[in-house]
Symmetry: C2
Subunit: 512 residues, 2 copies
């Protein structure tokens, strides 16, 4: 029988969840169908919803309820129980919401929105000097934010920022995994670069109109088990996945006539996020209490979220088995432009690895080097070990070290990402954490679902989806990412599974 304060906390969380789901619709609509002139009022609507949520998250009474639950032995006696985990996360959310003074929140928002405009201009002109004073302001504010959250003993400021996106992770732990990964990846990518047996990219450039791509995307979504009665696929400039209620998960993608695999893998990526959201127990109950809005029906972290999207995009979507199944359907739905190509042609083309400047266009292997470079730089900025003025030279030197390329200009270098302009620091490493978790989970899944490759080769993704539903999605935020990883794979997160996966796939393709 749950205690009254716990029930009340869950009710508050549900109200907040409902308000947040309305905000998600406001945002989704803005990116999809909203008429352009409505933008100003949309900002008013969003800000009113945000303040209604903020009121509820920071309500003193919520703090009292949490404190009461924290001393309730029936809840916290077993810290691994669902209720104890919920209280742990109620606390974390309350601290995140209350530790920042209102004027800092306002200033972060204001400077963020201004800095973003300057960043756009600076990137277009490839002029870092324009952006530098704003980046300085933003780093100062973000450091202040970290100090408000508080730095753990023996930890560093950066950890407090990381905690917003990857609860419980620390810079030091991440470094321990990233450092060996970096040198192994860099060596392996250099080997690939020297290969004389490079795949042709011709199949990627088959011209296919958007309508057909959309139909094929929907077909793949259906096969993956994404429930289109409880979700949609629409078109936006920047693809995303948005949950706006227990049975409402909306994906977006974009179509380029001249490279259909961008949309295909984009859609599979967002669908991986979407399957996570659809798999979370948002319609579930704990001792009669609906879970919607509570931590027990929310996702663990950005890293785990990204592991789901990357798994479907890369481990499923870039496998040979996937193309064995998908190619006949692709030829039928996408039309004659694909006729000349074999499964092997497709498989090789979608696995081309080659160093390039832009992170969001990078392949499965080099992508992680882009991320590690950003992690290193932003961590140094927060620690005070790097001046903003030195960012471009540091970036370019590291880029040469990591990827072997000379950065031609800051537009294709340190000005390419929007994140820092609005204060997202501690966010980048979660991209690579996602790749690492995906690869490590994948090894475990292959051990437990014996004929996974054959299932994929016949387009049967049920066992895979069920495994993810039961072992990852069903828990909500009950376990921290690192604990879940140990629980499921028997080992802490490591670079080994990702390296094994890449080597096993890419050595035969490149004949190295």
């Amino acid at each position: 029988m749950p205690s009254a304060p716990f029930v009340e906390l869950c009710q508050t969380a549900r109200d907040i969840g409902t308000l947040n789901s309305v905000s998600s619709l406001l945002n989704w609509d803005q990116e999809t169908y909203m008429p352009p002139a409505a933008a100003d009022h949309r900002a008013e609507q969003a800000s009113m919803l945000a303040s209604l949520v903020h009121e509820r998250r920071t309500n003193k009474h919520v703090g009292d309820l949490i404190a009461t639950c924290e001393t309730d032995k029936s809840i916290v006696a077993d810290p691994s129980s669902a209720a104890a985990a919920a209280v742990r996360e109620f606390r974390r959310d309350f601290e995140l919401a209350t530790k920042l003074p209102g004027d800092l929140v306002a200033e972060l928002a204001k400077v963020g929105s201004q800095a973003q405009e300057v960043w756009k201009d600076a990137r277009q002109k490839s002029d870092f000097k324009l952006f530098a004073p704003w980046l300085e302001k933003m780093i100062a504010l973000v450091r202040k934010k970290a100090d408000c959250y508080g730095v753990a003993k023996g930890g560093e400021r950066y950890d407090a920022l990381l905690n917003e996106y990857e609860p419980g992770a620390t810079a030091r732990e991440i470094e321990t995994i990233f450092t060996p990964l970096r040198s192994r990846l860099a060596g392996f990518i250099a080997e690939i670069a020297r290969s004389k047996n490079k795949p042709s990219d011709k199949p990627l450039h088959a011209k296919i109109e958007a309508d057909r791509q959309h139909k094929f995307g929907q077909f793949v979504l259906g096969a993956m088990g994404f429930d289109l009665k409880a979700g949609r696929l629409d078109v936006t400039t920047h693809p995303f996945c948005s949950e706006m209620g227990p049975s409402d998960v909306r994906l977006t993608t974009r179509y380029r006539d001249e490279k259909f695999t961008d949309a295909l893998y984009g859609t599979m990526h967002e669908a991986g996020h979407g399957l996570y959201e659809q798999g979370l127990p948002k319609n579930g109950k704990l001792d009669g209490i609906p879970l919607f809005g509570t931590p027990l029906s929310n996702s663990i972290s950005l890293g785990i979220h990204e592991s789901q999207s990357r798994m479907w995009e890369n481990l499923v979507g870039r496998s040979r088995g996937f193309w064995e199944w998908a190619l006949p359907h692709a030829k039928q739905i996408l039309g004659p432009a694909l006729e000349p190509f074999s499964v092997d042609d497709m498989y090789r083309a979608v696995n081309i690895v080659t160093p390039s400047y832009i992170r969001v266009e990078a392949d499965e292997a080099t992508y992680n080097l882009h991320v590690m470079l950003r992690f290193q730089i932003e961590r140094a900025l927060i620690a005070g070990d790097l001046e903003v003025a030195a960012v471009p030279s540091t970036w370019n030197k590291a880029f040469k070290d990591f990827l072997g390329l000379d950065v031609p200009d800051d537009r294709r270098g340190c000005l390419q990402d929007v994140h820092w302009s609005f204060g997202l620091v501690g966010y980048f490493p979660t991209y690579t954490l996602g790749n690492l978790y995906a690869a490590q989970f994948w090894e475990t899944i292959r051990g437990q679902v014996s004929d996974l490759d054959q299932q994929i080769a016949r387009g049967d993704f049920k066992a895979l989806k069920t495994w993810l539903n039961q072992n990852i999605h069903a828990h909500g935020k009950r376990y921290r990412a690192a604990d879940l990883c140990k629980m499921l794979t028997g080992a802490p997160l490591s670079a080994d599974p990702l390296m094994r996966h890449l080597e096993k796939k890419l050595r035969p393709i490149y004949g190295i």
Copy 2:
């Protein structure tokens, strides 16, 4: 310099307006793009928003602010001033929101939703007995509602219901206009029925696919001056117009391959509503106070709203000039199916008048008889002069009197409309008030815009739109409908302009 209480009232109204605009988005999305499984959560979201609005509308402090403003001479000295009108409407809204006890509101909602399900079933089975007990419950609740609102001296219960939709109107006044209209219309329609020169309906049944109809709809919207940068046109089962912010007005329509004029006139009708919403001063200010959410940027009444939609649909869209301009474009956009038809063919076809059973499919002339019949019956139900059990026989007898047809079953008789099932009583007469206001305004506009017919015949709707913007839309709710009518047309609302319009148009068409 506006007083502080007035400024605060406007601020509250703006907050309510913003929350309502979010509710509108929730509803629009539900009717257009929402995945079906999301319906339950959408109801949660809508109900949370509704309760946030209700809290704000019924806040005791708002009542105090209104009372203060009502004694503020700088506001109420001139009762025709904008500020005085705003206070008058703040009062009306506060009364509407506070006079109903919470349990009555809840019961109306609950019985309404149950009765609607029963009504669906009863209509399908054409079995009034199924529905009768629910209609009885609903009428009893609606009478209770009227009593809570309060009946004015010398007035009747029905007026209190009418006031929700048509502020200030009374059943007696409406009766005074409807009674002569009914006999004149009935006689005229009988004359038409005897004509030997009936138009052919062939042009209406040209087969045209939905894509082309949508393109033509957008083209007509653009010509009418509907701002598609601040609005959209989408597809729904039941067409509507929804305003969700100062620059966000969304229309919906539906396409039937076999009768393209349904969508065309449906779109023009909704665009008439939409032009009113776009014309209201939602981005305007009064002495520096933003008007959004306040009565000064809201529409006057359902009757006036309907006058705008009917004007574009019937007075513009079914005129010969409209087809002179539109037909060449229609042939180009809608394709070869229209090739055989002349302007005269189209003009005659869209003006066919013939008695039929279903209100929503009725033509411009017979439509009003359908409405008057409902007004008579619902008024008698509320007055206690008619038993629910006698509704079918009363309906059928009146239908024979008004339209000369024997109603074959209740599905095509008193069970056809959804309104009564969820307690919408006092709503029906606003449909005909809309037609009457439209015709009366139209005579005035023709007097002031001398070559209106020629302008329409070249697709130039600017002067018409400007007239409506300046004389009707710009005032918001400043004037009551009856006062605005006198102010603009120099006369109280009357049946004459509508009869003159119908006779002038239809006599030549039918050669009578």
